[in-house]
């Protein structure tokens, strides 16, 4: 029972890191970025390819799995996304889903479509037991990394100068610009960080979720559920939503396997009926 809870928490944390970047772009920047999973996949491939082809140790690949997608995100934001900000949401959707299909095809062509296998270092394999609760070492590692990230994000958004600039830029870009905030730059950085977080999530998740070119399509639904259930105005919303979904998914598959993966959708429907704006949404924004 507790072992399952632990597995669920680890799974939820993973979903959170994967989705939090989307919460930032979707919620704070008001841009529907369905291509978010593509950045996650990029991170996964950075890790796998560096380990496989260049023999870089697993931990050392993680910063790169953040940096490279962040870099790509920054460039893409400047060249592709910025002209789309003012367009209606349907355009965002069409544009970003197009990007997804392009990346799927590109990765297929470049690395091939086989499942990629991450070779974890010895010390992250296996598990130990504390009072009958089986704890997988790698899952514990995921939880620790994700907790650190959450704290850091919360601090950056809530307590730093950059955080307040970002919130200002989101709420009213014109006034923020008038106050001397470089709105474009703030958005660029935010988008890059969101993409980087996705990349890190992809790198951490490749072991648990598997990694092949259809990754962005396979997990897009999970990201969207996390963000819609959690609401997009805070960091804690998606965090709790991701945990709830992770636990529900694992528990559901254990206790009611007939329902399979459907538990997650059921939960989403119930929550959105009860609170259409998400668990921690602040009602319709503008």
């Amino acid at each position: 029972m507790l072992t399952l809870l632990f597995d669920g928490i680890a799974y939820g944390m993973l979903l959170f890191v994967l989705a939090v970047g989307l919460a930032v772009t979707l919620g704070l920047m008001n841009f529907v970025n369905l291509a978010h999973g593509a950045f996650a996949m990029a991170g996964g491939y950075v890790t796998v390819l560096l380990m496989d082809r260049a023999g870089v140790p697993f931990l050392a690949t993680l910063p790169l799995a953040f940096l490279l997608p962040a870099l790509v995100g920054a460039v893409a934001e400047r060249l592709l996304y910025r002209p789309m900000y003012k367009r209606p949401h349907l355009d965002h959707v069409l544009f970003s889903i197009g990007l997804v299909f392009m990346t799927v095809a590109a990765v297929d062509w470049l690395v091939g479509s086989q499942q990629q296998i991450v070779k974890l270092p010895q010390w992250l394999q296996g598990r130990f037991e504390i009072a009958d609760v089986g704890i997988g070492k790698y899952r514990l590692f995921i939880i620790v990394v994700c907790l650190l990230l959450t704290l850091m994000l919360q601090w950056v958004l809530g307590r730093t100068r950059f955080g307040s600039r970002l919130r200002a830029a989101v709420d009213d870009p014109r006034v923020a610009a008038g106050l001397g905030i470089n709105v474009n730059q703030v958005f660029s950085i935010t988008f890059a960080v969101g993409s980087g977080l996705a990349g890190l999530g992809g790198a951490l998740g490749a072991e648990v979720l598997g990694l092949d070119p259809s990754f962005p399509l396979k997990f897009m639904i999970y990201f969207l559920i996390v963000v819609s259930v959690g609401g997009t105005t805070t960091i804690t919303g998606p965090l709790l939503a991701a945990l709830l979904l992770g636990i529900a998914d694992v528990m559901g598959k254990y206790y009611v396997p007939q329902l399979g993966a459907f538990v997650v959708y059921l939960l989403m429907v119930v929550i959105l009926f009860w609170r259409p704006q998400g668990l921690f949404g602040r009602g319709a924004t503008r």
């Binding site: 086989q114 296998i117 598990r127 089986g134 694992v250 254990y254």
Partner: protein, 394 residues
């Protein structure tokens, strides 16, 4: 008046067009190449299947350069991305536009099932090189299979488990046609020999995480866990199996050969060591024919190791070409007759295409993953000779 002239013109046009077409096909039939349509998943989830079969077919063609009655044999490859409606559409195009004498390939069961009516209607033989649900050969009298069936593999491993004192098992399969076949035939054979399946678990085809089912297995603490997963998921599964400490809890992992697919086995690492599976082919199979096949395959494909899909494609091509030789290049029923009852030495061992069921009869090997010369291999140690598909006897 005006109407009548239009009609007449139309009639004339159709006549000439029809005649022209007839003349063209007649002349093409005499001198042009004999075409075979190969529909494979070259992209998407099952792409490794397509890649292996495509490579094997190319190898066969390069080695044999078949010329039948002065006409070359040509293979047209189409990608269906394992989407059944696409498979069907492509097969239809191949039959109608390209006038292929045979259809081949078919990565997954739904694709093969969707195409079977086309084979029946157009009397085009259809050689299934990968999909492994037992019922496929019954979907059309024109289906011939050169891969294997899951009941064959599941029954073979169940026999082995019985012989080795494994009585209490849990089964875990992917929730689709082949998985349900594997679950049923494994359970039937285990219980027939006074064994017991304490829990039958199914996991969605696109399973993101095996944690809950594996925890369930651990809690049931059987002597062994029987697994069927489509090739590709095996590696992720095996790592989680070890991570959860199921191997240390004394639960043996057994399954059909899909989980220790040669295509991925070497990348799985030491977690795969000691896993016992049953299958019709291993790249490590000890025979002169196989040794030659593996060497040629690796040489032509940048060191890639052939897996059971490759051998299904290689043998399938052979069955078609030999069938064409027997029918002197004529397709349809003549070709089908030429394919039925073929007996030959495949890289997997002796093989027979059963004339009644059009399904393959071959040896089922029991293998164990071991280190051979620094690489992980399925090493065969036991075999059930000339096994027919158990799904057909009912």
């Amino acid at each position: 008046m005006h109407k009548r002239t239009t009609l007449r013109a139309l009639a004339a046009a159709t006549m000439t067009l029809g005649l022209g077409l007839a003349a063209q096909t007649a002349s093409a039939a005499d001198t042009g190449p004999i075409k075979i349509g190969l529909v494979l998943p070259m992209t998407g989830q099952q792409a490794s299947t397509g890649r292996q079969i495509d490579a094997a077919v190319k190898l066969y063609m390069a080695q044999n350069n078949p010329v039948i009655g002065g006409r070359k044999v040509e293979v047209i490859v189409k990608d269906d991305a394992s989407t059944p409606d696409q498979t069907r559409r492509l097969a239809q195009e191949l039959v109608v536009n390209d006038k292929v004498v045979a259809l081949a390939g078919f990565g997954i069961t739904p694709s093969a099932m969707a195409t079977a009516p086309i084979a029946t209607q157009s009397k085009t033989p259809m050689v299934v090189m990968a999909a492994a649900t037992s019922a496929i050969t019954e979907a059309s009298p024109y289906v011939v299979r050169t891969s294997f069936t899951l009941p064959q593999a599941a029954v073979a491993i169940a026999e082995w488990a019985n012989k080795n004192g494994i009585k209490k098992v849990v089964s875990l399969v992917s929730d689709y046609g082949p998985g349900i076949d594997a679950e049923k035939y494994f359970a039937d054979r285990i219980t027939l020999n006074s064994g017991q399946v304490v829990d039958k678990l199914r996991t969605p085809l696109r399973a993101p995480d095996f944690a809950p089912v594996l925890q369930k297995v651990r809690d049931a603490s059987p002597q062994a866990l029987f697994v069927f997963l489509p090739s590709g998921q095996g590696a992720a599964f095996m790592k989680q199996f070890a991570e959860r400490g199921l191997d240390k809890a004394g639960i043996r992992l057994i399954g059909t050969g899909d989980i220790t697919d040669d295509d991925q086995l070497n990348d799985m690492g030491d977690v795969a060591l000691g896993v016992v599976t049953s299958h019709h082919y291993a790249a490590n199979h000890k025979s002169a024919v196989n040794q030659k096949f593996v060497e040629a395959f690796k040489k032509a494909n940048n060191g890639m190791r052939p897996n059971f899909m490759a051998v299904g494609g290689y043998d399938g091509m052979r069955v078609i070409v030999e069938g064409l030789k027997a029918s002197k290049g004529v397709g349809g029923d003549a070709l089908l007759a030429g394919m039925k009852g073929q007996i030959f030495e495949s890289p997997r061992g002796p093989v027979l295409i059963d004339a009644q069921t059009r399904d393959i009869v071959h040896d089922m090997y029991v293998r164990k993953v071991e280190k051979v010369g620094g690489e992980l291999h399925n090493v065969e140690f036991d075999a059930i000779k000339a096994m027919k598909d158990p799904g057909k006897s009912k």
